[in-house]
């Protein structure tokens, strides 16, 4: 084979090899980087049994209850369709709030309670001053009362 053809072959093979490894990395993303399962997926038994996984959703309003020992907390994760109870012992992040996003890592117990060993807060992409946020909240509350009347 001519030296120039050989060089071209090497280049094409390298690109192909790198492209293949890129595809493999993407496949890994697909399987392992199901970064979290939704409550609906967990309820449908799509999450791995007996293994640690992450559940993500919103903290259901009114569901946060601190236990008497002071550091254990119960709350419910929801995607508005299904609700999974979670129990966690440890410090919660600053942004952990009812009605806000949460990602918890842990195992699902036999009775369907998620035993979390890590709880992370997930925030949205909105940035605004408190006055604007309050105004928006008032506006959506007013809208709701109009609709229900």
């Amino acid at each position: 084979m001519k030296p120039r053809h050989k060089k071209l072959t090497i280049i094409i093979m390298s690109v192909a090899a790198l492209g293949l490894s890129a595809k493999l990395v993407l496949d890994v993303f697909q399987s392992n980087l199901v970064f979290f399962f939704s409550p609906t997926q967990v309820a449908a038994n799509e999450a791995p049994r007996g293994k640690s996984f992450r559940i993500g959703g919103l903290v259901e309003k009114g569901s946060v209850k601190r236990q008497s020992d002071g550091i254990t907390v119960n709350f419910v994760v929801t995607d508005t369709a299904k609700f999974i109870p979670v129990v966690y012992t440890g410090i919660l992040p600053d942004l952990f709030k009812e009605g806000k996003g949460v990602v918890a890592q842990g195992k699902l117990s036999a009775d369907g309670v998620f035993l979390a060993d890590e709880v992370l807060a997930k925030h949205d992409e909105n940035y605004m001053p408190p006055e604007v946020a309050n105004a928006l909240e008032q506006a959506s509350k007013a809208q709701k009362t109009v609709v229900t009347k």
Partner: protein
């Protein structure tokens, strides 16, 4: 009047042009940094959700933007150098890599410092963070490969292959928050939607983005000049430059 655009593809002409342009971009970058930081810290209000921690955004997002943008520019110049066998194009690509790597590191570093108080962790292996880390590895791989190959033209070509194959990572980084479940939130600003950000916050972020861009151009022009001298050291025009020095 015919403009000879190809005049500046000669390293010698580009050398003097870049020398004149560098101060302009440096001064512009400095002014924009001052303006951007002033607005970000003294005009933009506090955030309803993240309080003052959100102000990291004014360096985190511009650094992330630059990390991706510089990679595309670097890959473009590398491709031109590969396709047209032009030396200067490859030199520019080589000059871009360190700055791109720096901004990628800063995106990851400032992101970690932002994630710890807000999310509750320094790091997670979600698609956004992992793909940005891969970008850092791509930059480092590019620089390491070029440093390992003695012949500059072969180094140019080998680097170009890595740069081009890695381009697929850029849309992965950008769309990661859309395609997969991630801890990192979605896009606050995009070309297709109105911004989900107060006006003064957005202004500062855009000015800082522009500042980082001007800074990058200035540093890359300067580094390109050095690379030109390194690689063209045996030419007449370089020795004449030394004669007058």
């Amino acid at each position: 009047m015919a403009i000879n655009w190809f005049k500046y593809s000669s390293p010698a002409s580009f050398y003097s042009l870049a020398g004149k342009m560098t101060p302009l971009f440096s001064i512009t970058a400095f002014a924009l940094f001052v303006a951007g930081l002033y607005i970000g810290f003294f005009v933009a209000p506090t955030d309803f959700q993240q309080s003052e921690a959100y102000r990291i955004i004014f360096i985190h997002v511009p650094a992330a933007w630059m990390s991706m943008f510089l990679y595309l520019i670097m890959a473009s110049w590398a491709a031109i150098g590969l396709a047209f066998n032009t030396r200067l194009s490859s030199m520019i690509a080589t000059a871009i890599a360190p700055t791109g790597a720096m901004f990628t590191f800063l995106a990851l570093w400032t992101g970690a410092l932002w994630g710890k108080p807000m999310w509750g962790t320094w790091w997670v292996w979600d698609a956004r963070l992992t793909s940005e880390l891969i970008l850092l590895f791509l930059y480092i791989g590019f620089m390491a490969l070029q440093a390992a190959i003695d012949d500059p033209r072969r180094a140019d070509k080998a680097g170009a292959v890595i740069a081009l194959v890695g381009v697929v990572n850029i849309p992965i980084i950008y769309f990661s928050v859309k395609w997969w479940n991630t801890l990192h939130q979605g896009a606050t600003v995009s070309l297709t939607q109105s911004p989900k950000m107060a006006a003064t916050m957005l202004t500062s972020m855009l000015i800082m983005g522009l500042a980082c861009w001007m800074y990058s151009i200035a540093v890359v022009l300067m580094r390109t000049r050095t690379i030109i001298l390194e690689r063209e050291r045996h030419t007449m025009w370089v020795s004449e430059l030394q004669g007058t020095a």
